[in-house]
Amino acid sequence: MAEARMPQKSLPKVNKVDQPFWEGAAAGKLMLQKCRSCGKVQFFPRVACVDCFGELDWIAAKGTGKVHSFTLVRVPRNPAFKDETPIYYLNVILDEGVIMESRLVGDTREKVKTGDRVKAVFQETHDPKIKLPCFELD
């Protein structure tokens, strides 16, 4: 019982709306939604175009972008992440023109500045079906 009560690192509870994103991530692809009517690209996953309410397709992003802002997390909301602090939490502006919230990983992360180029990497989790789209300095 004690083990069952240990805090677990948070994983997505995959739902009908964002399932294609997580399937893509497991295959090493960063998936975004694109409006069939107006062509707008959006993230996070929704059921309609956030601009014109059109229907949506999924597209694979290039997986590159730049650092918009970042913070070094010393106190994670979920204490299970404590062993990884400081966590480099960031907002990336993808080249497709959307903001993605994620985490910066890799040995060079201490050098990060806003505006730096980054590329997506997919990190394994304790669930073999789930990979997390993180970023490294490019």
Binding site: S69, T71, V73, V75, I87, Y89, I99, M100, E101, R103
Partner: protein, 383 residues
């Protein structure tokens, strides 16, 4: 829109506690009891009830039943930190429509673990934020603060001046959890939580509750001779929602401010109760509301005295930063303090000329943007 015949007639508060596990319901009851005792109103005169809390969504009829309130109007006022202002707006609408003439609106929280759990994270925060080990709201506001500092040259000292001034205001407020003086060095040296957000940028979660009694003008005149009117109010939810590259350093308060100040003059406001989950949020709202240009918040703070004795009094009782944040009571704390000031009842931290107050609320740090709900109101003492 300009309101004509809606009045704030009373308020109630509880003690704030960092440890108490007393039932949230007890806190709500205590805040209401305090308001009834101060105004001499009989509980049976209350015909409307609103509760703002982080507990489960269908909560307000349950709470009304627990408190023994037979009412003509009931509301779940859960709009995050904007819950106070936005609930007041809805109650005012109902009063103007004639559905009722007296409502009690409550915000509160307690650490009682035996009652329903806090509401779930909205799904995008669960699936696309929490999974990366973020530090809660502290991290989301840190992203905004870094952008403001880099884009506009805002300094830690300018941001810290807000926290230091509010602490000065709290020294004579018996409700405040933090009443020891704070220096700029104390602020700068406080522990880093999520760069550049440090400990003294953060609010202390606590148990407590606040409440407001809102009435029709006709009813108000029977209750008190200190008439405080709701003058005008505005809100916007999901400002910039369709913009995938939004300006994170501009909140919906920009739109709210334009609406508010089409009805009253900026320079006619005597005191400012500005939702302060973080000092940087106060600075950004001062800009958004048009008291200075976007990005000049740091210079504005340098040029003004923000204490209750100053030329631009902000969060005159210490705000959430020094009083504590009792969950969604945070959005009521500012309204209660404004009413206390306008009634001349803020012993030890009374603003000398207090006829008109601006109160704001902001709620729900959201994905990739900034605030989900933003709202403000102006209240005025009339002879």
């Amino acid at each position: 829109m300009r309101r004509k015949k809606v009045c704030f007639v009373g308020y109630g508060s509880t003690e704030y506690s960092r440890k108490s596990e007393a039932a949230a319901l007890s806190y709500y009851a205590e805040a209401i009891r305090d308001a009834l005792r101060k105004t001499g109103i009989d509980k049976k005169e209350i015909r409307g009830f609103s509760i703002t809390t982080q507990a489960s969504p269908d909560y307000s009829p349950h709470v009304a039943e627990q408190l023994g309130l037979e009412v003509d109007w009931v509301l779940n006022g859960d709009y995050g930190g904007a819950g106070g202002v936005m609930s007041i707006r809805r109650a005012a609408d109902a009063i103007e429509c004639g559905h009722l003439d007296l409502a009690v609106l409550v915000g509160g929280n307690s650490f009682d673990r035996s009652t329903p759990t806090q509401r779930q994270l909205e799904y995008q925060r669960g699936n696309f934020v929490d999974v990366f080990g973020y530090g809660g709201p502290n991290s989301l506001m840190a992203l905004i603060e870094r952008l403001h500092m880099e884009k506009y040259g805002t300094t830690l000292e300018q941001i810290g001046k807000i926290a230091v001034a509010q602490r000065f205001n709290a020294i004579n407020n018996p409700q405040a959890l933090f009443r020891e003086p704070m220096t700029m060095q104390d602020y700068l040296n406080s522990r880093m939580i999520s760069d550049p957000i440090r400990l003294f940028d953060c609010v202390m979660p606590c148990s407590g509750a606040e409440c407001i009694l809102l009435a029709s003008e006709e009813k108000a005149k029977k209750i008190t001779d200190k008439l405080v009117y709701l003058v005008t109010d505005a809100e916007i939810s999901h400002y910039q929602v369709a913009n995938m590259l939004p300006d994170k350093t501009t909140f919906g308060q920009k739109v709210v401010g334009e609406r508010i100040f089409s009805e009253v003059k900026r320079e006619d406001i005597d005191l400012f109760e500005i939702y302060d989950d973080y000092p940087i949020a106060v600075m950004i709202q001062i800009e958004d509301l048009g008291y200075c240009k976007k990005g000049d918040g740091g210079k504005f703070v340098d040029a003004h005295d923000l204490t209750y004795k100053g030329d631009f009094p902000v969060n005159t009782g210490g705000g959430e930063l020094s009083v504590g944040q009792a969950g969604l009571a945070g959005g009521y704390l500012h309204i209660v303090e404004a009413l206390r000031q306008l009634r001349g009842e803020a012993d030890g931290h009374q603003v000398k000329k207090a006829e008109r107050a601006l109160v704001t609320g902001i709620g729900w740090l959201n994905y990739g943007r900034n605030l989900g709900t933003t709202a403000a109101l102006v209240m005025e003492r009339r002879k």
